[in-house]
């Protein structure tokens, strides 16, 4: 039994000042044993904060100002040690790359039990049991850095199973997963349901678990705005969902949207001889003797995890030295080096492509040398992208969506004609997804060719005009 009684929370510094706005105000939730509760709502609604209160990271890891009570089986979480809460609560986090502590999968599964000092034989027994039940034999004794994001997330779930806590928290576990991997995650959750685990999930992408949950709690600005039980949740119209800032509840494969890849009347850009394999491997990840894509359109590039979508973007951008293909665009042929100046990619870790100390400076260094009225030019581009109120902010302090827009501002400043985006809407809520869609349309209106790797069928429906699926 998990109970939050009239809880309010503000993040703040350890010294006891600098409090921001309330992340939660007066929230009361109780979760019965064996129940599956979904927390959802737009970004910043406080759903992750609720999970942090339950697993004890608040107040032990994230300090702040807390009112009200958070209880597990009648005991206050804040007054017990984190390692004691760990016995009752297991958490799967959003980012598959940062939540594992070990380099090998077996060690990762054992980690929770090792920390508690369980006997070796007992740990082996639990691992074997979990591996058999979840069917992950093929993932064992592997280097975690060589797993796909979907596989990493499976290991994170299995680690929670091995540790054996009765309460499982899921913090946007599907944010980085493609359609198939999300279905696999759904299967794991079903397994936990059978075992009678208590599950609390915070998610934007609610479609894959909508029919599994007992109850949906919808938050906005730190308050509960609605609770839906049983039939109520199935009776919601798409308009009502959008009104609450929620994503669609219908699980749709991105491949099934079914847009054309190129139309006869399209102007095209043509890739020739695009082949790429990772060093030391003989299996090509990208293998395209020739491919035509529509210029001036928004093309969605879809395909399974590991199908080589990101590698294809890298090759087009001229970032893979081992790929010798050429690109033909508007009667000109571009080799690898030339493509680096023609194309721009907004990477998944947008933070890694921003270097300077202010938003304005970031755009200034992108303008071609000798540009007149540099500052006005830069400010103009930033205004068009709705970033003009952040000129002096440090790029690394921006939100994910803002970083994306800044990267695009740099692309515009340096006059790129082809802009590519790698999973721009992973972890974004409904409103931010629509913002991204609107931005892409704006770029299209400027005559820019856009390629977007995505598994988000809502984004494809919202803005894409062409689609290419990698087999």
């Amino acid at each position: 039994m998990v109970e939050l009684k009239n809880v309010s929370f503000r993040y703040g510094s350890e010294e006891g000042h600098e409090y921001g706005e309330n992340s939660l105000s007066g929230v009361s939730i109780s979760v019965r044993e064996g129940e599956f509760v979904l927390l959802t709502g737009p970004s910043g609604c406080g759903k992750t904060t609720v999970l942090r209160l339950i697993n004890g990271l608040i107040p032990h890891f994230y300090p702040g100002f807390l009112e009200g009570e958070v209880l597990i089986d009648g005991k206050a979480v804040g007054s017990q040690k984190l390692y004691d809460t760990a016995l009752q609560v297991g958490t799967v986090f959003q980012n598959p790359r940062s939540q594992f502590y070990n380099v090998d999968t077996t060690g990762e599964l054992a980690f929770g039990c090792e920390n508690r000092g369980l006997p070796e034989q007992e740990i082996y027994r639990r691992i074997d049991d979990t591996v058999a039940r979840l069917g992950i034999e093929a993932l064992m004794d592997r280097n975690i850095f060589r797993l796909s994001d979907g596989e990493k997330q499976k290991i994170a779930c299995a680690a929670v199973s091995v540790a054996g806590a009765g309460i499982i928290l899921l913090d946007e576990p599907s944010a980085n997963l493609d359609y198939e991997a999300t279905l696999a995650l759904r299967k794991l959750i079903l397994e936990w349901r059978k075992e009678g685990k208590t599950i609390v999930a915070a998610e934007h992408r609610i479609a894959y678990l909508w029919d599994l949950i007992d109850r949906a709690v919808i938050l906005r600005d730190g308050k509960i705005i609605r609770e839906l039980i049983g039939e109520e949740k199935n009776a919601l119209t798409p308009e009502a969902l959008a009104g609450m800032g929620l994503r669609s509840t219908i699980q749709e494969s991105p491949g099934s949207v079914g847009l054309p890849s190129v139309l006869n009347e399209d102007e095209t850009l043509t890739l020739t001889d695009f082949h790429f394999c990772y060093p030391g491997s003989k299996t090509p990840v990208v293998n395209l003797p020739t491919l035509s894509l529509a210029a001036g359109e928004i093309t969605a590039i879809t395909g399974r995890n590991g199908a080589g979508k990101t590698s294809l973007l890298n090759c087009i951008c001229g970032l893979e030295k081992r790929c010798n293909g050429v690109l033909k665009y508007r009667d000109r042929t571009y080799n690898r080096k030339a493509r680096q100046k023609l194309c721009f990619m907004v990477m998944q870790d947008t933070g890694n492509q921003l270097f300077t100390e202010s938003v304005l400076e970031e755009v200034l260094i992108s303008l071609p040398k000798g540009t007149e009225n540099e500052k006005e030019q830069a400010a103009g581009i930033l205004r068009a992208l709705d970033l003009d109120q952040y000129l002096d902010r440090h790029p690394q302090s921006l939100s994910g969506g803002q970083k994306q827009r800044l990267a695009i501002a740099c692309a515009l400043a340096s006059g790129r004609e082809i802009i590519m985006l790698d999973e721009p809407t992973s972890g974004l809520d409904h409103a931010h997804m629509l913002e991204t869609a609107a931005l892409l349309k704006q770029l299209k209106a400027r005559g820019i060719t856009i390629l977007v790797v995505t598994h988000d069928s809502e984004l494809i429906r919202a803005c894409c005009t062409r689609q290419y699926t990698i087999e």
């Binding site: 940062s98 074997d128 492509q353």
Partner: protein
């Protein structure tokens, strides 16, 4: 057949116990690189110098073996060529050759240790040597983060190529700052998330941690450890003025 983690762990066990490897690194560093000991130890040192190369062969680390051998060959090559070289080149050859031949053996041994020891084996060995958690926890975090730093670094360099930032290009002088700052920012952020995840899984509980990896001394460990003791004994006797041969 069902998966057995216990058997898998046994199969992954290395040829030597990590503690034996550590002892060998130490002895090599002190006697070969540090140059401790006099005339009697010279023959022993030759044998010692060959040891890391033999171990690399035993663990089938062919490319590392070849690399070590190549560096050693270059070092001796330079020393041999030195007397026939003119002026400044002579000095440079000497300097490079001297340092290469001196350092390469222990560096190869260190490389052997790093290449053939898994993180959990190493941590487990440290715990058996009674290293406190205040040392073993930070070190395990470090080993976990090295590959992360590597991949962040590569992704930043690609982003720089795309933005047209390179030496001699746009703001060439600031390249290092542009590279280090995002690398540190993302490493620290990943590290924070890593901390949060580890703490919700009971890291730091005041109990004796279990470690499921298999380590322990076997025949080959005892032979090599005895060898280390022998070298030290010869050295001590020599200090006392006793000559064995």
């Amino acid at each position: 057949m069902a998966y057995s983690s216990a058997q898998a762990q046994e199969k992954r066990r290395g040829f030597l116990d990590p503690r034996t490897k550590l002892a060998l690194v130490l002895v090599l560093a002190v006697f070969v690189m540090g140059g401790l000991g006099g005339g009697q130890l010279r023959q022993i040192k030759t044998v010692l110098s060959a040891l890391p190369f033999l171990l690399l062969l035993a663990e089938r680390q062919w490319s590392r073996f070849a690399k070590g051998l190549a560096i050693l060959a270059i070092g001796y090559g330079l020393l041999l060529a030195m007397p026939y070289l003119p002026g400044v080149l002579n000095y440079i050859a000497l300097m490079c050759g001297g340092i290469l031949t001196r350092f390469v053996v222990t560096v190869v041994m260190g490389e052997y240790l790093v290449a053939t020891t898994s993180v959990s084996e190493f941590i487990s060995a440290m715990e058996r040597l009674h290293m406190p958690q205040t040392i073993t926890i930070p070190m395990s975090v470090m080993f976990r983060l090295f590959p992360t730093i590597g991949s962040e670094w590569r992704s930043i360099r690609r982003a720089m190529a795309m933005r047209g930032i390179h030496l001699g290009g746009v703001k060439g002088g600031q390249v290092l700052e542009y590279q280090l700052v995002p690398m540190m920012t993302s490493t620290v952020r990943i590290g924070e998330e890593l901390s949060a995840s580890a703490l919700t899984r009971g890291l730091g509980a005041p109990v004796r941690r279990t470690n499921i990896c298999r380590i322990g001394f076997r025949a080959q460990d005892f032979v090599l450890l005895a060898g280390c003791l022998f070298v030290i004994a010869v050295w001590i006797l020599e200090l006392g003025g006793v000559k064995l041969w």
